[in-house]
Symmetry: C2
Subunit: 228 residues, 2 copies
């Protein structure tokens, strides 16, 4: 018996979260159309990670969009501003950090929506998380719901009656839960990259928010991080 | 007595509508931070028009974002698909035409939102029009309202209590009304470009939807189009 598979757009950064989301989408029966961005990051290491992850999950397509958020500035991830470092996760400052990139997920989802409409899909997967996250406003459930509403009004498909689903399966999971789910789906986390401020050879700094949250996740699960 | 001026982001295509919107923003007391896109159009003529218009209106800044919507395809404006032509405006096909670019205004407004947040503004001007338009879903008032709602949830500024205003002053105006308003504000329409399918020398085709709507606008006002 053949099963009809559907396309879905999966936003893929090459990090732990988006790799897990891609594996979830595949398990749900979607063919993966992966979408990654070069948005003027200071490091291209995560591109290589995104490519490795897409390949390992058998993505049907993988499109890279080069966009220039540096021309606007305003973030430690795109400007020459130091990424904050701490010794452990309890030291992460409350509030929205300097690594916030203005409107980033809005921009990412907008491109995903264009891609989805072209491939005849209204399913988009994104690895946002509102538990072990860094306080970014565009990671919250209200934001996701508002984007679904916008997508319905913004597109030809929406006018024709289709509703858009932004799948955010990690949104209420802890980092530990995410890793457990990924292990179940046999995600190879050695392929992923999370660090905001890696050394030139790609090694994680282990002190930025992203490294600290990742380390806590593997601690919660009680297994070592296989990252290279 | 000095007047405090505020920044606003103005989406500027170099067409008649966005030039008029920029003039309206300036009259309302905003300093113009113009934002234009190269989204893989087949013609770069409108870039030159956008530059001329920004200069003529004394924009404080003008940023060009190069984005690649061709990698997704799906539109006569980005693919090698013929732009539909008619002899007069009554022949424009009903429904959403092949010149529709998937999620274009969603993408444009997302970048505008990032720019606005960086310059400390929550005012964005866009020249969408729901009267003499080509049937695009992302030109409707509901779409604009949904984006304002999204912007409030998507940004640090929104979390801090700011509300975002998407100014769409042309949304209920006919093309004739838009031109009358622009004439009052001394917009130089000879600098603008509207055609979807210009000749290599930049001359308008006079038969695409955009040319036909522009021609009808000048007819309504009873003046000749000063376009070169």
């Amino acid at each position: 018996m053949t099963q009809t598979r559907k396309n879905a757009v999966v936003l893929l950064s090459g990090g732990l979260d988006s790799a897990t989301v891609a594996a979830i989408a595949r398990e749900k029966g979607f063919d993966l159309c992966a979408l990654s961005f070069d948005y003027g990051q200071r490091h291209a290491i995560e591109h290589e990670a995104a490519k490795r992850v897409a390949r390992s999950l058998g993505a049907a397509e993988h499109i890279f969009q080069k966009i220039d958020l540096r021309s606007f500035g305003g973030s430690a991830l795109t400007d020459n501003i130091d990424v904050p470092k701490s010794e452990d996760v309890s030291q992460i400052s409350p509030g929205i950090p300097i690594t916030y990139v203005p409107a980033r997920n809005t921009i990412f989802l907008s491109f995903a929506l264009a891609y989805a409409e072209v491939i005849g899909s209204m399913d988009i997967f994104i690895g946002v998380n509102a538990v072990d996250y860094s306080g970014y406003p565009d990671c919250r459930p209200d934001f996701i719901a508002a984007f679904e509403q916008l997508a319905r009004l913004a597109t030809k498909a929406g006018v024709d009656g289709a509703s858009c689903t932004i799948h955010a399966p990690l949104i209420h999971m802890t980092k530990g839960d995410i890793i457990r789910e990924g292990m179940r789906l046999q995600v190879d986390y050695s392929l992923t990259h999370s660090c905001y401020d890696p050394a030139p050879d790609g090694k994680a700094c282990r002190k930025c928010d992203s490294c600290l949250l990742r380390a806590r996740g593997f601690e919660q699960v009680g297994i070592p991080d296989p990252i290279r």
